[in-house]
Subunit: 175 residues, 2 copies
């Protein structure tokens, strides 16, 4: 059985949506994801806000309230019939995120066994056939095929097969 | 560069020593590691104590005070000159252990980058050439070579190369 590793932030979890909600509310703005095309989140905002915006990601409660990416629950469940599925999420830069990220996964993806959740930093440690991730840096030393999940910061990357949403993941891996 | 994945409990960390210290103190016993030869920790104790002993491992503070396995700090530092080293520890069964385990590694092994720490359950997800672990179950689907680090429960296992201490790790992998 082939194995798929799936990233959490910006792939299974719509982290950007939650970030924008907090940021727009605090600074009375109405930025959308389009504003961030081709840029890292903290590059595309008023530089006077960076220190404050960075704090969002250092706050345990931030990770509790992230919405699920549309259709991810259904498609991941379907993938599990044909593949071994692991969630591989970079958590080591924000140790306070361990527990809320784990709880989030148990809540929204209870059918993924806890033993198939991986917190890591450098994803070259992941042994899988496919890695669905929004960050192409993780593909450089990954031994399987990286599949790029579209996020605002990666729209200009062309080196990998791309999926724009979970229905396209289904199309690519289940048809 | 070849890669070595190293388990934490019973390999880099002398978890059993700490467990025995607590258990002997609470029940006024003087059990040693020899008492546990060939058995899982909770199998080898008075069955009336199992529920209480299990709690030790569910307590966050338990993980803070575990002593380092003798010579592990020095030998792991030496391994890092010749290999890429990752710490791969099963933490998903005890979510309260995430933060103290991570803090323990930062304290005792500050030269291992945070990006090379992996919390996982099923270690078949680990892409490495060697896995040094006390639990032979992790070797069954591991794609590299499993090297069994002696712990009381595994003394009768014969299917893998074995190391009894960190000086033997140095001998095996650095000479």
């Amino acid at each position: 059985m082939q194995r798929i590793a799936i990233d959490m932030d910006e792939v299974a979890a719509d982290t950007m949506a939650h970030y924008l909600e907090l940021y727009n509310a605090e600074f009375e703005l109405s930025l959308t994801k389009e504003h961030f095309h081709g840029k890292r989140t903290l590059e595309a905002i008023d530089q006077a806000h960076v220190a404050r915006a960075r704090q969002y990601f250092q706050t345990e409660s931030f990770f509790v309230d992230i919405p699920v990416m549309p259709d991810s629950q259904q498609v991941i469940r379907e993938l599990m019939d044909r593949y071994e599925v692991f969630i591989t999420t970079a958590a080591m830069e924000v140790p306070c995120s361990f527990s809320p990220k784990f709880a989030w996964l148990r809540k929204h993806f209870p059918y993924i066994p806890a033993s198939h959740v991986v917190f890591c930093g450098d994803k070259s440690i992941v042994a899988a056939d496919f890695l669905i991730d929004d960050d192409p840096r993780h593909f450089q030393r990954f031994r399987g095929e990286g599949i790029l999940y579209t996020a605002p910061h990666n729209v200009n990357v062309t080196a990998y097969r791309r999926v724009n949403n979970w229905l396209e993941v289904r199309q690519l891996l289940l048809s």
